[in-house]
Symmetry: C2
Subunit: 446 residues, 2 copies
């Protein structure tokens, strides 16, 4: 993409309404624009990252054997009355009346609707196990929306639901989700720690939250530093294997890691002192096993093969996709702007023309652009007729992990400058070597 | 995908509520389930096709140089009051009040919101031309929703908006959209005819609707059969070229083609009689040029380079993505079920095991499955322990364009059966040849 043809309204001034860095940078980098309180438009750069996150979530869910589908944003109120949550959910649930006076809600979550689909179509244990998920816009009418997309009202969430014959099968589904979430966050360059949590209005027995460490996190967290040394890396996981998923669950949940809601000082002090950590965290996902809570109230039963109708064991599992964008920035930035991890960056590499209009510089930039594109990479080429200072400022703010800077002086020596956004380190090398180096970096993370 | 692990709730009975074939087949093939009147959940098979259509629309819009973004579903009422459409839009617009009593609307279209984004960020002719689009759920509270996803209330639409300095530039954007839409529909296996139309509540001077011929279409259409002979095919189009886009516009809009709203019998009789056609059509898209209607009422101006602030020339351009699914089925089916065009089929090929449990048949199916997958194709393998008759019925209903049938008898002779869903023609050939033939078919349509 050539910047002259892109829509990247970078703000010069610091937006006053932004209290945290991710909100400020997303506004400044021209990624979002507020439509009304807690509701945002995603401008091209923001949408591009959002779509990348969505695709990573899809890939990892399908790798785990979960089936994608899509439920609507508006749901009939009757289902919520049936489950007993219609009155209990309170003012966070946006209630709507259509032209015929029928009550609907803008879904804040989908347990009721998915259970209704399940009970309409599934009647036998033979069709289990089954995990369905979707990634759809949700609405929660927060009293005081803030922190940009981190606590918005209209937000993009992946929510998945497992249906199993037994508690054991449902706990395998729970572990399978834990593993798929760990892999999802790792691909996004995030270290998210599963922590035992409270279940809240969803209800349930077992639940873990995934928290990304960041100073601006809304939760206080307590953990054994051993948990942050764990990596899935390139481990191959057979998601059908109960033992493999259980082993990863055990590995990640044995070290102490809890939020303030479930923190137990008496247990925490048993962690060796040098490994005891207290910090703040941002919640980016949560998994639940809630047994037969919804299947009983909504009569979602299956034939168990012995002539009995039994309620299915269920769980629900969410990843806040739009919120993740904020969390990634909270965990990856400096005072000049965003620093995207390679796995989610909107463009793979920036090309900065120090002197647009200079024949040699223009030709070199075009050649680099074409070479990167031919290798399947997407560069963002700042071809505008702007001062070099403004171009550097824009590149730093939007945070592409790699930048190739092209100027007439370097070209005379046959070199361009390759700069790493995270370290700030630069090296001079011939254009084709810079291109090959970037291509190798992206090959390595696949 | 193995069918034993998929969620494909094929209905045996014919759903009574469905008045048209696409609605009936989408329910029977387990693609959708109604959540409430005019609001649907997309089950895995339906979602898979919807996502393919969405991706094709994205690819063709970006090929034309248009920039993807995403606006929220809920919009502030103030913007609609500013444009003057808040009261005029009537009961089709779903109005919502949040917990603080603020009025919002579930967007039926986005002229106001995009104009607000534009005026906030763009001030100079130098940043033009600009076309932004998104693909997002919309809501129109139809009095009587019907025909499944063809006239739903919550629907998935691509809407794009061009901003140009002059009328000439805006008309080039109009033509560019026409070309990109023609290419989009062709990739989906549809013949959609641009027809001069009325502008309705969007307002504007120039507008064309795109109609797919189908007996169940809601509009009566009149056209010169010459228009249905036109194909873009593999023509390379430079979307920046005013002349090229204008030439395609002229080519497609010179033959007579109008809906009943704009039909002029006096002009129609000048078409040679043997080419005069009267038929029914389904609207699958519409493009508008409406000049400065919104930019004047909402004060979206730019500096024209000579010190004047001038309102920008705009147009809006829509494709009904969820509706397209119904239109494709209306135009591609027989009495046994759907017949997907290769460009949009949810799976590339079905594999039907005539005798699951037979060692040779199972092994042959697995080998075919692996070969197709290795070639980048996605097969759907019916590995269920079901009667062959039920398996054939399911495959015909869900309409994959190609099917490989594997049975013990054929395997003894070293062959499987390759069947074309559209023609019903079958041929026996060795498994690897069947695989290669299918791979070649999909290579050819790329």
């Amino acid at each position: 993409m050539r910047l002259s043809r892109y829509f990247l309204p970078v703000l010069k001034e610091t937006p006053r309404e932004a209290q945290i860095v991710s909100h400020r940078y997303m506004l400044q980098a021209g990624m979002i624009k507020q439509a009304s309180a807690g509701i945002y438009s995603w401008l091209p750069l923001g949408f591009k990252v959002l779509r990348k996150l969505e695709n990573i979530v899809h890939e990892e869910q399908q790798r785990a054997g979960h089936l994608p589908m899509l439920m609507p944003t508006l749901q009939p109120a009757e289902l919520w009355q049936e489950s007993g949550r219609y009155n209990g959910y309170g003012k966070e649930m946006l209630r709507v009346e259509d032209r015929h006076g029928r009550e609907m809600v803008y879904g804040p979550t989908n347990e009721e609707l998915i259970t209704d689909i399940f009970r309409s179509h599934v009647g036998s244990y033979k069709e289990l196990p089954l995990t369905l998920y979707h990634i759809q816009w949700k609405f929660r009418d927060e009293v005081r929306p803030r922190f940009g997309v981190m606590r918005g009202r209209e937000f993009f969430m992946k929510d998945g639901y497992n249906f199993d014959l037994t508690k054991e099968d449902a706990l395998h589904a729970y572990n399978r989700h834990l593993v798929s979430y760990l892999r999802t966050y790792e691909r996004m360059g995030l270290k998210a720690i599963p922590m035992r949590a409270d279940s809240g209005p969803i209800g349930g027995e077992d639940t873990h939250e995934f928290l990304v460490l960041a100073e601006t996190g809304e939760s206080e967290v307590f953990y054994d530093s051993a948990v942050t040394d764990l990596h899935l890396g390139s481990r191959v996981v057979d998601y059908d294997s109960v033992a493999q998923c259980q082993a990863i669950f055990d590995e990640w949940t044995t070290p102490y890691a809890r939020t303030d809601e479930t923190h137990d000082e008496g247990v925490f002090v048993e962690v060796p002192e040098e490994r005891r950590r207290k910090a703040r965290g941002i919640e980016v996902g949560q998994i639940f096993y809630f047994g037969t809570k919804y299947s009983e109230s909504m009569n979602a039963t299956v034939d168990d093969g012995q002539g009995n109708k039994v309620p299915v064991h269920m769980g629900s599992h969410g990843i806040g996709v739009s919120r993740l964008l904020g969390a990634i920035i909270e965990a990856n930035h400096d005072d000049k702007g965003i620093i995207w991890p390679e796995g989610v960056t909107p463009f793979h590499c920036g090309i900065l023309n120090m002197r647009s209009g200079d024949e040699a510089a223009d030709a070199a930039c075009d050649a680099i652009y074409d070479s990167l594109t031919a290798l399947g990479l997407e560069p963002l080429y700042d071809d505008r007729d702007e001062r070099a200072g403004a171009k550097f400022g824009t590149m730093d703010m939007i945070g592409l992990p790699w930048r190739i800077t092209v100027g007439p002086r370097g070209l005379k020596n046959g070199v361009v400058e390759l700069t790493c956004r995270r370290t700030g380190e630069s090296e001079e090398l011939p254009p084709q070597q810079a291109v090959e180096k970037i291509a190798q970096i992206y090959r390595d993370i696949q």
